[in-house]
Amino acid sequence: MVDASHDGNDLITPAAVEDVELYHPHSWWTRYVFSQDAKVIAIQYACTAIAIGLVALVLSWLMRIQLAFPGVLPFIDADRYYQFITMHGMIMVIYLLTALFLGGFGNYLIPLMVGARDMVFPYANMLSYWLYLLAVVVLVASFFTPGGPTGAGWTLYPPQAILANTPGGQQWGIILMLVSLIIFVIGFTMGGLNYVVTVLQGRTRGMTLMRLPLTVWGIFTATVMALLAFPALFVACVMMLFDRLAGTSFFMPAIVEMGEQLKHGGGSPIMFQHLFWFFGHPEVYIVALPAFGIVSDLISTHARKNIFGYRMMVWAIVIIGALSFVVWAHHMYVSGMNPYFGFFFATTTLIIAVPTAIKVYNWALTLWRGNIHLTLPMLFSLAFIVTFVNGGLTGLFLGNVVVDVPLSDTMFVVAHFHMVMGVAPILVIFGAIYHWYPKVTGRMLNEAMGQLHFWITFLGAYLIFFPMHYVGLVGVPRRYYEIGETSFVPASVHDLNVFITVVALIVGAAQMMFLFNLVWSLRHGREAGGNPWRATTLEWQTPQTPPVHGNWGKELPIVYRWAYDYSVPGAAEDFIPQNQPGTLGVTREAVA
């Protein structure tokens, strides 16, 4: 074997398949609306996700107002409160976070980062977005039906989800929710297959798997997981739809509802919970792994240092992805399932803490002896580490079966999952938007607005969710329209609720400034140039900024090195792009 460090070209195999011409748009409609360009589809996904996310943000305001000032907004009755929490949760988890990370960042970054011209199945990719949009429209439609949207809680547990005493249970709400999820899964499958096949088959010459940026590893692994996990949600939705519409009893045992025997019998409510969480737990990592990947690249780029322990980081992503399929019942310790499951699921759950902790160490060690530029992406990355570590550590309470018993179904759980899969991934999304906006638009986002946005969002979110753990520790249950007079709840808890609500209103308002910045900077932002962060990965090396359809001009880039050659000793610049040949840095197949 020739020593590759003498000639980076040695390991570049000739192209196996000839470059195929893309479908080029002929009109405004096919260029901007029914586009098959992954970059346009990414923007469509992102705009739709942000728009529906705004709805969920307003819903969170309304429920926080109810909790702090019960009755001050008379239209928030118990029905509406439960509808708000349900729609807030479902929108944020599925229609915002999943869609934005995979449909948004996945579409934009995968082809550019692996050196492809587009996704491998552009037409299916386009359909994926339109099905996603349809799913959102169906979901929103439920707000305008008689009875309104479902108020079953985002977990949609039967039997109550399809009974009359739950808002939307015997009306349109639950039906539209289930139909919307089914459409979402179908649409996602089309996109997901695309992302997986593009990463496996669409990489340019020299881009080995172990040279992929961690962003791609995170999105790729999350997509594989989603393709395995979403079918469980799909069948659960189909079965519940049958129970609701056709009178079957998949999840419905014998029930007496308000004194009347229902025509159901023999079904198992717990079976739904197993199906739901078989999807639901991997879903946490479907959101987290892209965030892990992206934040790794942000930290490395803005600390001008290679990511520490790249191979360990890749394996940690893969191992977390695999383990996350055998921990689902930690959401069900007090569900009444066989209590002996507790031993197994507590053990697997705490094992997953080890690869997760390794990722945190490696982010921190990447900063060590770095050259830290406190840019907005770096600030958001630091904030992510703080909130993710905080939320991850409280997961050790809830994962450790017996400690979970007093805490489950309390506000502690709400605080935990918001910190770890709400705030932390969204901070990464913000960091990523500040990082890649110059590539998408050619202009920088406004720095002053960004700084204000960062500080309000980071400190505000921490002030909301850190004290909320203690509300749960006192014993206040989640999903309570009103805690009212309860002997064990001191009056000071109410003061804390008022504080949390006021901060939540401010943090929410700060997001409007962020949206304004997104629009304002389109015209007024500073010109960015092709590679403003002096980054190594391929998306910054495109001939045009923003990249045009087809991404690369005449010749596809050839990759000679890993994605993290920052501050290589002896190199003139403090970064060496992946497509630059040479003998310095990590140019072999794997890190030596």
């Binding site: 118990a78 029905d79 547990y157 039997p159 109550q160 009974l163 005493n165 808002p167 045992p253 014998a254 029930i255 007496v256 509802e257 023999g266 717990i270 001008r304 240092k305 520490f308 322990g309 790249y310 507790g342 507590a346 053990t347 803490a353 902790a357 390794i358 921190a364 900063l367 002896r369 770095g370 050259n371 830290i372 406190l374 600030l379 703080v386 570590v389 550590l393 050790l396 079966v401 017996v402 400690v403 018993v405 007093p406 309390t410 004290p467 509300v471 014993g475 249950p477 999903r479 805690i483 009212g484 309860t486 002997s487 064990f488 001191p490 920052y566 501050s567 403090d574 990590v586 890190v591």
Partner: protein, 283 residues
């Protein structure tokens, strides 16, 4: 510099908040202080890790912040360091998990001789059933629920006739005696939640679930529902009173049996035999 100060403030502030905040769990009223101990161990281990990571970040930002001429080090991997950190984390996980699993084993192992109490949930009411003189709860089925038999007790089961039925009232428990709480629902999921007991468990229509505890102090405690059960979820309240043995017996003697309730519901029915109408405490 602001970033460094804020990071330090977050680490220090979080610990101070934990120590100084007035918000802490309610005084325990059951034997599950082991759960509290495990929780406190977890607080200190995770708290130490949190403070260490955040302060390390603060140090890095302070020490390695960009200034003209600085160049980052180039160190792709360090196997010894990575292996050591992984091993240390694994050790910490074991220290938290081992006591957790040990206590969980106790939690799911009901001591022999524990008394039995049944809690029945429905939208949005708590009912209770205690075994009568025979010490056994009779069979019950959701299918048997009717207006005059709210808990669906099987009238054909002899051991059910003397069961004591409390519809929507208070549950009393004697202090210091282990009790297995059997949980049943006739409509949707509920969760029998008394914060002072620490234990809780979902109630599922079509199944009987359970937990056990030994009440350790007398008092009156709120019962809440901890599993979303429809629009009245937050008003589904009840009361548990932990009594001394003597008070408990007085209370027990005042409660009607299933047979007595049936007799009240059917005024034209046959008179109930005197010895069956007697509550066990009166004998």
């Amino acid at each position: 510099m602001a970033v460094v100060l804020v990071l330090v403030a977050i680490a220090v502030g979080s610990v101070l908040f934990h120590i100084l905040s007035p918000w802490w769990w309610t005084p325990i009223a059951s034997n599950w202080s082991y759960i509290d101990h495990t929780l406190v161990i977890t607080f200190w281990i995770t708290g130490a890790v949190f403070v260490a990571v955040v302060l390390f970040l603060a140090y890095c930002v302070w020490r390695f912040r960009h200034d003209p001429g600085r160049r980052a080090a180039y160190e792709p991997e360090n196997r010894r360091l990575e292996g050591g950190l992984a091993a240390g984390t694994a050790l910490g996980v074991v220290v938290m998990l081992a006591p957790g699993l040990f206590v969980w084993h106790q939690f799911i192992t009901v001591p022999p001789g524990a008394a039995q109490v049944e809690v029945v949930g429905q939208q949005w009411l708590w009912s209770f059933r205690l075994p009568g003189a025979d010490g056994k709860l009779g069979r019950a089925e959701t299918r048997d629920v009717s207006p005059d038999n709210a808990l669906g007790i099987d009238k054909a089961d002899a051991s059910a006739l003397d069961d004591i039925v409390i519809e929507g009232g208070e549950l009393h428990l004697p202090v210091g005696k282990p009790v297995k709480v059997l949980l049943r629902s006739i409509d949707v999921l509920h969760n029998f939640y008394v914060p002072e007991f620490r234990a809780k468990m979902d109630m599922i229509p079509g199944m009987v679930t359970y937990f056990w505890l030994t009440p350790t102090r007398t008092g009156t405690f709120d019962v809440l529902c901890a599993e979303l059960c429809g629009v009245g979820h937050s008003v589904m309240r009840g009361t548990v009173v932990v009594d001394t043995e003597a008070d408990y017996q007085v209370w027990l003697s005042e409660q009607p049996t299933f047979t007595q309730l049936q007799a009240q519901a059917e005024p034209e029915g046959l008179p109930v035999p005197a010895e069956m109408a007697q509550a066990p405490g009166e004998r």
